[in-house]
């Protein structure tokens, strides 16, 4: 018995299908004016990768600076700008659009048996907004940057810094609308475009989790938009709404900001959870354990996600009573994540598991997200929050969730669907190596930061007391390993565009509708609209399909 499920067509005779969404039209205009969700997904993929590497380089600079206790590589204000831009770019220009706008955009219509998203032009508009926002952010960086941190805390951002708060704010505002439009498009598509027979409980879990994330995008982002507008007005004409000397409450900004930015964490992680559900099911040849529980836990996270924002403000002067409510609700929102982790683990039970790259990344996700989630409880319990918040503990916590969770999931998804997107396989061995390197590098980078945080090292410090140096050196060393781990996929994925093996329709023997059509797919996805006549993750159905094909060919 071989230890892989990959079934590739005979490489000597196999060809990439002549008609596909990539070859349909040529020329740069056909890309820039496209309405095709797959092409827009590719546009997004290129642009978010670009921003990821900018944000990544900034992270590299941060780690280099922190190699020594003094602020010797950069002046403190440069350091402040670097970490601010790192946060802004990574969150608004990479993590929020990463899985939904690329993988989600590409696959959502195919998974539910539709020809496109419901609003293709809005989809394209969303990308243009994203690019406009991105360019504005880049311009800001060139023009001198911003040093408010990604949280734009008032009154610092409104009255006390002289950097480009307005342009950055505008960039975030526009990027917000880009993500509103993506979310809106997904919700409409999932509600209205499902093919015959595709009931809610036959949807792949990837669709469920993107649906939950979309709800958060649509309902949360506008509040961020208004908060930023108010900051801009406060900064330009001094309206006093966040200015304590005029009777305003600076904490109100944080209420509005975190009303979006806490759900934003779920916007970032939920689609990643969807990817992991798909990958784990495919590589263990089993239906996801407790499909309904996993589906509803996504929705539960989305709903509860709106009730917990003030846990970012426990020590910042919210009332003790409000603290009690928000802390309690925070504990509740941790439960659905726990459910997911255990359900994934039990999906493996009595499966038939293989260990291709996406599966390795998914395992990485499970381990790191478990740590990230559990350390979140440290911060949700108000007592320990006092000691741990605003330190490297919180930095480590959200990097475990965002980088260890989301980025792992993104890479899992990218490798998993790469054959579908491009028609070619990525090289397996080196990508497995990259997955392992990433995992090791990640732990080296961020685990020491938990200890640093417990020791009390504050976040956003350009210099620190010398006794923290050893752990910081570890962290920086790990970051260089992590950097290699991220660089490798870029190299071999680009390489594979030309030299990768021809993948065929369904290299993983997966059950999703997207795998039942050619790779790369046609512009209209399906020659004719499919009819869903089986449950999601029905591997027996797949077997019967194959037998039928063999019979008909024979």
């Amino acid at each position: 018995m071989s230890d892989t499920i990959v079934v590739l067509p005979d490489q000597t005779t196999a060809r990439i299908p002549k008609m596909n969404y990539l070859s349909k039209e040529k020329g740069i205009l056909s890309w820039l004016l496209t309405g095709d969700h797959k092409r827009i997904a590719m546009l997004y993929l290129v642009s978010i990768s670009f921003f990821f590497f900018i944000g990544g380089s900034l992270a590299g600079l941060i780690r280099l600076e922190l190699l020594t206790p003094q602020s010797d590589l950069m002046a403190t204000d440069t350091y402040n700008k670097v970490f601010s831009m790192h946060g802004i770019i990574m969150i608004f220009f990479f993590l929020v659009p990463s899985v939904p706008a690329t993988i989600g955009n590409f696959l959502m219509p195919m998974m539910i048996g539709a020809k496109d998203l419901a609003l293709p032009k809005i989809n394209l508009l969303s990308w243009y907004l994203y690019m406009a926002a991105g360019m504005l952010a880049l311009y800001t960086m060139m023009a001198g940057g911003v040093d408010t941190g990604w949280t734009f805390t008032t009154p610092l951002s409104t009255h006390y810094v002289n950097t480009h708060v307005l342009t950055t704010g505008m960039a975030v505002f526009i990027a917000g609308f880009s993500s509103i439009f993506t979310g809106l498009n997904f919700i409409v598509t999932i509600h209205k475009m499902r093919c015959p027979g595709m009931t809610w409980f036959r949807l792949p879990l990837f669709v469920w989790s993107n649906y939950a994330a979309s709800i958060l995008m649509v309902l949360g982002t506008p509040v961020l938009a208004i908060a930023i507008v108010l900051v801009a007005l406060e900064r330009t004409i001094g309206i006093g709404i966040f200015d304590p000397t005029k009777g305003g409450d600076p904490l109100l900004f944080q209420h509005l900001f975190w009303f979006y930015s806490h759900p934003a964490v779920y916007i970032m992680i939920l689609p990643g959870m969807g990817v992991v559900s798909e990958v784990i099911s495919t590589f263990s040849r089993k239906r996801v354990f407790g499909y309904t529980a996993v589906a509803f836990s996504s929705v539960a996270i989305a709903v509860f996600g709106f009730f917990v924002w003030a846990h970012h403000m426990f020590i910042m002067g919210i009332s003790n009573y409000a603290m009690l409510i928000f802390s309690l609700l925070t504990m509740l929102v941790a439960v659905p994540s726990a459910i997911k982790i255990f359900n994934w683990a039990f999906t493996l039970y009595k499966g038939s598991i293989t260990f291709e790259t996406p599966m390795l990344y998914a395992f990485g996700f499970m381990g790191l997200f478990t740590i990230g989630g559990l350390t979140g409880v440290f911060l949700g319990a108000s007592g320990t929050d006092i000691h741990l918040t605003e330190t490297y503990f919180i930095v480590a916590h959200f990097h475990f969730v965002m980088v260890g969770g989301m980025l792992m999931a993104f890479l899992a998804g990218l490798h998993f669907w790469w054959p579908k997107m491009t028609g070619r396989m990525y090289p397996e061995k080196i990508s497995q190596l990259a997955a392992v390197v990433t995992f090791i590098g990640f732990n080296f980078t961020f685990f020491p930061q938990f200890i640093l945080g417990t020791l009390g090292m504050p976040r956003r410090y350009a210099s620190y007391p010398p006794e923290f140096q050893v752990l910081n050196v570890f962290s920086t060393a790990g970051a260089s390993i992590l950097g290699v781990g991220y660089l490798l996929p870029v190299l071999y994925l680009v390489w594979s565009l030309k030299y990768g093996e021809i993948a065929g329709d369904n290299p993983w023997q997966a059950t999703g509708l997207e795998w039942q059509v050619q790779s790369p797919p046609l512009t209209e996805n399906f020659p004719e609209i499919p009819i869903m006549d089986h449950e999601a993750y029905d591997y027996d159905w797949l077997e019967r399909q194959k037998e039928k094909e063999v019979a008909s060919v024979g």
């Binding site: 009154p155 600076p250 976040r459």
Partner: protein
């Protein structure tokens, strides 16, 4: 060993000699918080171990080589209920435990010694009631609950002492408080943990914990002459507060003797305890805090007194146990113009009063 480059060698030496894994516990609350912390670490480790064990054992047992055909399982309500309820229970324990600690940290005991802390870009200024000022450092005695009344003059800062496990945001325009009781003499880190602008990482200092005797010596050795209340008294006089706040029968303002800690009936019908925050608000935004029976004639002092000046006034009012002091102050005020040679009401320049 000689092959190892000196840089790495230095690093190893440093590691062996100067490597912290856990912060010192130097306050009464620290062990309590650490108990919860280690409980959480334990729960996390168990949870993580379970997940890792499940994943690795299933990966070994049910790899494609050993287990070529998957057995389809729909799910198990029992199991799912288990891993819903057990984490929920644990999380709720952590919630209750955490909240208890939270309330302990933020509810100062009645006998706490009060120290005022003003945060500004980019320094901490601590003011002891006896008038001792410190910049970027804080001297406290062991065995005595110390309450910090914190305020920021500009942006959000956060006063953090990791060794005590306490931290509190310094908010512009509002007093916050935190308390601790130091247990071990020594010097500990003091950080600003809320990002506050360019020199954020230099807004650090030392917390020096002394034995009660040493602390007394330190207090005696670093006094600047006048206590906060005395400074407040002078400010009270120079702002002519006593023109209204006195005990004369026709006084336009309420008498402030023993006002601190008492319950006041406001003109809005609310009842409020006169604490530090109330006194501060009543000076800066008087019209929202009128005592019942008085006309809203008090002018605002917003923008005229620095935060330090307000602290002096608050401290003065706090210590007003009888009207004797006010009358004395009244007497001084009448003397002031001649004695200081200034004509008319002295301009309320806080800088003049406090340096």
């Amino acid at each position: 060993m000689s092959q190892i480059s000196p840089v790495i060698w230095q690093f190893l030496v440093k590691w062996m000699t100067n490597f912290a894994l856990f912060p010192p516990e130097a306050s009464k609350i620290a062990p309590e918080m650490d108990a919860l912390y280690f409980f959480m670490v334990l729960v996390s480790l168990i949870g993580l171990t379970i997940v890792i064990l499940l994943v690795t054992s299933f990966s070994i047992l049910y790899s494609k080589k050993r287990h070529p055909v998957a057995v389809q399982i729909e799910g198990s309500t029992m199991l799912e209920a288990t891993w819903t309820i057990i984490p929920l229970g644990l999380f709720l324990i952590m919630f209750v435990w955490g909240s208890l600690i939270y309330f302990r940290v933020y509810t100062p005991p009645a006998n706490a010694m009060n120290i005022y802390v003003v945060g500004k870009q980019w320094m901490w200024k601590a003011e002891h009631p006896g008038g001792q000022h410190e910049i970027d450092s804080l001297h406290v005695p062991t065995g005595q609950p110390v309450q910090l009344t914190i305020i920021s003059q500009d942006v959000f800062h956060s006063f953090s002492i990791p060794a005590f496990r306490v931290k509190r945001e310094a908010i512009p325009g509002r007093y916050t408080s935190v308390w601790f009781e130091a247990t071990t003499p020594g010097t500990y880190h003091l950080f600003c943990t809320q990002y506050c602008g360019t020199e954020h990482s230099h807004m650090i200092g030392d917390v020096v914990v002394l034995t009660p005797d040493d602390f007394k010596k330190w207090l005696a050795g670093s006094t600047s002459g006048a206590s906060l209340a005395q400074n407040g008294e002078r400010l009270f006089a120079s702002l002519s507060c006593n023109a209204c706040h006195n005990t004369r029968p026709d006084a336009r303002g309420p008498s402030l003797a023993n006002v601190y800690g008492s319950k006041l009936n406001l003109s809005t019908g609310q009842q409020i305890t006169a604490d530090d925050a109330y006194l501060r608000e009543a000076i800066l935004n008087p019209s929202q805090h009128i005592t019942a029976g008085y006309a809203p004639i008090m002018p605002t002092y917003q923008g005229q007194i620095s935060e330090e000046g307000v602290i002096d006034l608050v401290e003065y009012i706090k210590n007003l146990n009888s009207d004797y002091r006010v009358q004395q102050t009244t007497a001084t005020t009448t003397l002031l113009p001649e004695s200081e040679g200034t004509a008319g009401p002295a301009p309320a320049k806080p800088g003049m009063v406090k340096q």
